[in-house]
């Protein structure tokens, strides 16, 4: 924990890694980061972390919208900072997982608790 692993990895790979969530203790730490690259470059970032002794796990979990509960109100739409949630012309809500940064603003914004994060 004495070395700036994240900063080193950014310098080494040139990838602008963005911290979404971090929990640090003197003994260990855990971070959720957004790595905005794909394929070989992503592999480079992962191995850079692993060389530093970091366990890397891809987060496949995401938000889930229960469309039986959803009332298509739109309360989750404009609070989404990356426009991952939009409303179609018929006002039904659409979710684009690729854009989602897992900030969970929508989970809090949903008045009928139709959005869960897992």
């Amino acid at each position: 924990m004495s070395r700036p692993i994240l900063a080193d990895t950014i310098m080494k790979t040139g990838v602008p890694i963005n911290i979404l969530e971090a929990q640090m203790t003197p003994e260990s730490g855990q971070m959720i980061v957004d790595v905005p690259v794909e394929n070989r470059k992503l592999g480079e970032v992962v191995s850079a972390f692993e060389t530093e002794g970091v366990t890397v796990q891809e987060i496949v979990s995401t938000i889930t919208i229960d469309f039986d509960r959803c009332i298509s109100c739109g309360a989750c739409v404009s609070p989404c900072p990356v426009s991952a949630i939009t409303q179609r012309a018929d006002w039904n809500v659409e979710y684009d997982e690729k854009k989602c940064i897992r900030c969970k603003v929508c989970v809090e914004a949903c008045p009928v608790r139709a959005i869960t994060f897992s």
């Binding site: 009332i71 298509s72 739109g74 309360a75 006002w91």
Partner: protein
Amino acid sequence: MAEERGSEKLRSYEQINAKIRIGGAVVMTAEEFVEYAKTHGATVAAREVDVVTTGTFGAMCSSGAFLNFGHSDPPIKMLHCWLNDVPAYRGLAAVDAYVGATAMSEKKGFEYGGGHLIEDLVSHRQIELRADAYGTDCYPRKHIETTFTIDDLNQAILLNPRNAYQHYNAATNGTDRVLYTYMGSLLPRYGNVTYSGSGELSPLYKDKHFETIGLGTRIFLGGGIGYVVGEGTQHFPQQQFGTIMVCGNLKQMSPKYLRGATFHRYGTTLYVGLGIPIPIINERVAESAALSDDQITTSILDYGVPARSRPSIAKVSYKELKRGRVTINDQEVRTSPLSSFKYSKEIAQTLKRWIEEKRFLLARPVELIPDYREFQPLELRES
């Protein structure tokens, strides 16, 4: 107005109902009527269309239900009463209670409140009833714990003191932190805009001068039939902030159109589905019913200012709001509604269908809602 408010110059309620009974009434949803009036002109539309149906489905905090539990043996005069741990108002006769949408569970807090309880009631789910009392000679019991469903109740009457605002302010946030309000989550530095009200589908905007709405108007309420009782609390028609008080038999309503809700860090509420049929009794009513989203404007207020009078950042139309983007300080800002337009449209269509199927007749109000009312603030006086 030269003509008396509520004048039935074009057609009377009796004429409209006679046409409904033979399946000959011309009924359009507010959206259809807006289009029709644009194409053919308001005068032609007024002459041809008998009824315009409206709809809204939004969070309406001033909502609640009167319940009568019946008497236990020995009987109790409840002093305090909880339904699924939500406190109900008990300043009434022995076993009458009023549960309000914003009352919150003493155990679950924000996650469960009166709004959720009303949804559970209309879903015929089992409800826990707990009450205590001091005991009297006529009501000796001091404690009761049991369960019931809506079917066990003598009466379950939805009575909402303030519903269906004509239009409402839109909200944004000029501070540096996320705000959690009854207008939803507002991102910092004017990061988004939320708005309420259904614009050109809005029941009370479609009869802007309250010429057809008053005590006794039959309406779509919570999936069933309800009635307008009179003006709602904080009724302020001069600025198009008119409201109505409504009631109806909860037993014939549906959980689809009465949904318990929580606004994060604000509290619980109830989404209420409400639709009013507007009889086109004169040309002024037709003109009002033909108002489109671009003619209905509202102000975007900065909810970051913690005062009664929040500054207006911009004036916009519902058309702009529904487009999904408005401009604030030369920046494009995303907008999204809090009311469900999908459900609002469904309500207007359902009401239209009921009338066409001869299942719903129009009622002439016994007394119209006032078109003028002062809206007073609470001034603090030193005692």
